[in-house]
């Protein structure tokens, strides 16, 4: 299957996106912000279809709107959980509605819409791969600087604030990174299935190990394994890649929930 350039591109793109999703997803799950990522991807849908309408590559529309929404969510501050649920729900429906409106004005809508909603990793070309690598590297670099105060702020916000961690700046910066990771993830899994790579592996890792260091590594390894596994399975079965990725992601989580699995997979030294 590596004889074809589109498969090589697909594997490279999935690898890049999975590493980023596994890492960023770990902190999303830890912070209870999983649905923030979901909302951001829907915002991205409106951005992508809007970009298509304007004749711009959809990635730029995706990035512009997800990052803007991420920053707005971060600066808007932490409200009550209920308020946040309502806000996210409204943003979800509103942006999907706009996405539909933009699609309505596009004549070639059907395939484009499916590609955005459910991903089209086999269509990634060399240029796109370059952009994915560039933004992916930038996010990894940012996370390398941010992860320590982010971990402290996620676990004990009041204590972190007392030690001088700038909570709002940290959470805003993190949501901007989540936004970029989401936009990247849409290229592989599509808008509707970003959970499969961003939340699935991270949640599985947190079930399997109680140490953040191992958890992050495991989350990244699982994301890459599920992403590449999904590609390979789709090659052999001729079923959509995103289906296989989401199936593997769910399966891994269910396996991790089985009693006794945790002790067997991740013993502490």
């Amino acid at each position: 299957m590596f004889a074809f350039e589109f498969m090589r591109h697909a594997f490279a793109a999935t690898g890049i996106v999975a590493v980023l999703s596994g890492l960023v997803g770990y902190f999303m799950v830890l912070r209870g912000e999983s649905f923030a990522g979901h909302a951001l991807s829907h915002v991205g849908f409106a951005g992508a279809t809007g970009a298509l309408l304007l004749g711009v590559p959809p990635l730029w529309g995706l990035l512009a709107l997800t990052v803007a929404a991420g920053l707005a969510m971060g600066l808007g501050g932490r409200g009550t959980t209920q308020g946040r649920d309502v806000a996210i729900g409204l943003v979800l429906s509103c942006t999907l509605g706009f996405g539909l409106l933009f699609l309505h004005f596009l004549t070639t809508s059907a395939t484009r819409a499916t590609a955005l909603l459910f991903g089209n990793v086999l269509g990634v070309d060399g240029a796109m791969l370059g952009w994915l690598a560039l933004f992916g590297t930038a996010c990894l670099a940012a996370m390398a600087v941010l992860s320590r105060p982010l971990l402290f702020a996620s676990l004990q916000p009041e204590a972190a604030e007392a030690r001088g961690v700038p909570l709002r700046a940290i959470s805003t910066a993190f949501l901007a990174i989540v936004a970029i990771a989401t936009a990247e993830c849409v290229q592989v899994t599509g808008v509707l299935l970003v959970f499969a790579l961003m939340v699935g592996p991270a949640a599985t890792a947190q079930r399997l190990t109680a140490s953040p260091g191992r958890g992050i590594v495991l989350s990244v390894v699982l994301a890459v394994a599920e992403g590449w596994g999904g590609l390979a399975l789709s090659w052999w079965t001729d079923c959509p890649t995103s289906f296989w990725i989401s199936a593997l992601s769910t399966l891994a989580y269910l396996l991790a929930c089985l009693p006794g699995v945790r002790g067997r997979v991740c013993l502490r030294p």
């Binding site: 830890l30 209870g32 390398a144 600087v145 941010l146 992860s147 320590r148 105060p149 971990l151 402290f152 702020a153 996620s154 676990l155 004990q156 009041e158 204590a159 972190a160 604030e161 007392a162 030690r163 001088g164 961690v165 700038p166 947190q206 079930r207 109680a210 140490s211 953040p212 260091g213 191992r214 958890g215 502490r268």
Partner: protein, 281 residues
């Protein structure tokens, strides 16, 4: 450079002087301090001095500003007028001399073990990778510090267990350990007795007192009920209606003083070595 350093330096430069010598300066000093939050006056023109190594119980009606006072000492809530100093230096965010244990909110408990939870607080204000990812000498040094605070709160056996499987009292001990990371000289404990049964309350008070004596540090301990602290605390600090009174229990926990602080007639009844504060409605 760390976020913490940055903030502390900025604060001292703003005051335009070098920090005075440490040992003589009291852990906390309020000099005609006023604290306002959103137009509400928490403290007005309050002056008091907490002495070195003292165990101070912080009491007052709900919403009187016990938490706000602690956050002002931490430099998070600004001082509107007057001055609050910690070991002789004006308050500023990220003061490494203070260990803070916030009130426990019933937020989702992460699936992490106790050791990782405490390690996250270790220089958690610095940029870079989490402690887990450091190696060599740094790693050993970090591990030794986590072991030290775990031993202090007698929670060494809890280190490897996931937090979500621990009891409320066990979690409290880990939060206390987190506050002790980095060898602070002043501990601010916000309602550590909330949601504990009487047995658990006595255990926490005794533990905090042991740690205070062992390390010679001052403790501000806020609580709803002063009885669990009787016999342990050196002084009581009552906050209410914008005023604060610090002094020995027998002088402050009296009908006239508390009536003034609560703004309603209050009777103080002593019976069987316990003190009952009764609002006379």
């Amino acid at each position: 450079m760390t976020v913490g350093d940055d903030m502390t330096d900025a604060c001292c430069d703003a005051a335009g002087r070098m920090p005075p010598p440490g040992p003589a300066a009291p852990p906390v000093r309020l000099d005609r301090a006023t604290i306002r939050i959103g137009g509400r006056t928490i403290l007005s023109d309050a002056s008091l001095t907490v002495s070195e190594g003292a165990f101070v119980g912080v009491l007052g009606p709900n919403g009187a500003g016990k938490t706000s006072l602690m956050r002002a000492i931490l430099g998070i809530v600004p001082v509107a007028a007057g001055e609050i100093s910690v070991f002789g230096r004006p308050v500023g965010r990220g003061n490494r001399d203070i260990g803070y244990m916030p009130q426990f909110h019933g937020r989702v408990v992460p699936r992490l073990d106790g050791r990782s939870f405490i390690a996250a607080a270790l220089h958690g204000e610095r940029w870079g990778l989490p402690c887990d990812w450091r190696w060599g000498g740094h790693r050993r040094h970090d591990a030794a510090e986590v072991d030290r605070v775990l031993a202090l709160v007698r929670a060494t056996h809890l280190a490897e267990r996931p937090i979500h499987q621990l009891s409320g009292g066990e979690r409290q001990r880990l939060l206390l350990a987190q506050a002790l990371v980095g060898r602070p000289r002043l501990l601010l404990l916000d309602e550590p007795l909330a949601s504990l049964d009487p047995h658990g309350q006595r255990a926490v008070v005794a533990l905090v007192n042991d740690i205070r004596r062992q390390l010679g540090i001052a403790v501000l301990f806020s609580t709803h009920d002063l009885n669990p602290l009787l016999g342990v605390m050196d002084e009581v600090l009552y906050v209410g209606r914008g005023a604060a009174r610090l002094g020995p229990v027998d002088e402050v926990a009296t009908g006239p003083v508390l009536s003034a602080l609560y703004g309603t007639p209050v009777e103080v009844i002593r019976a069987g070595g316990r003190i009952f504060v009764v609002a006379d409605t």
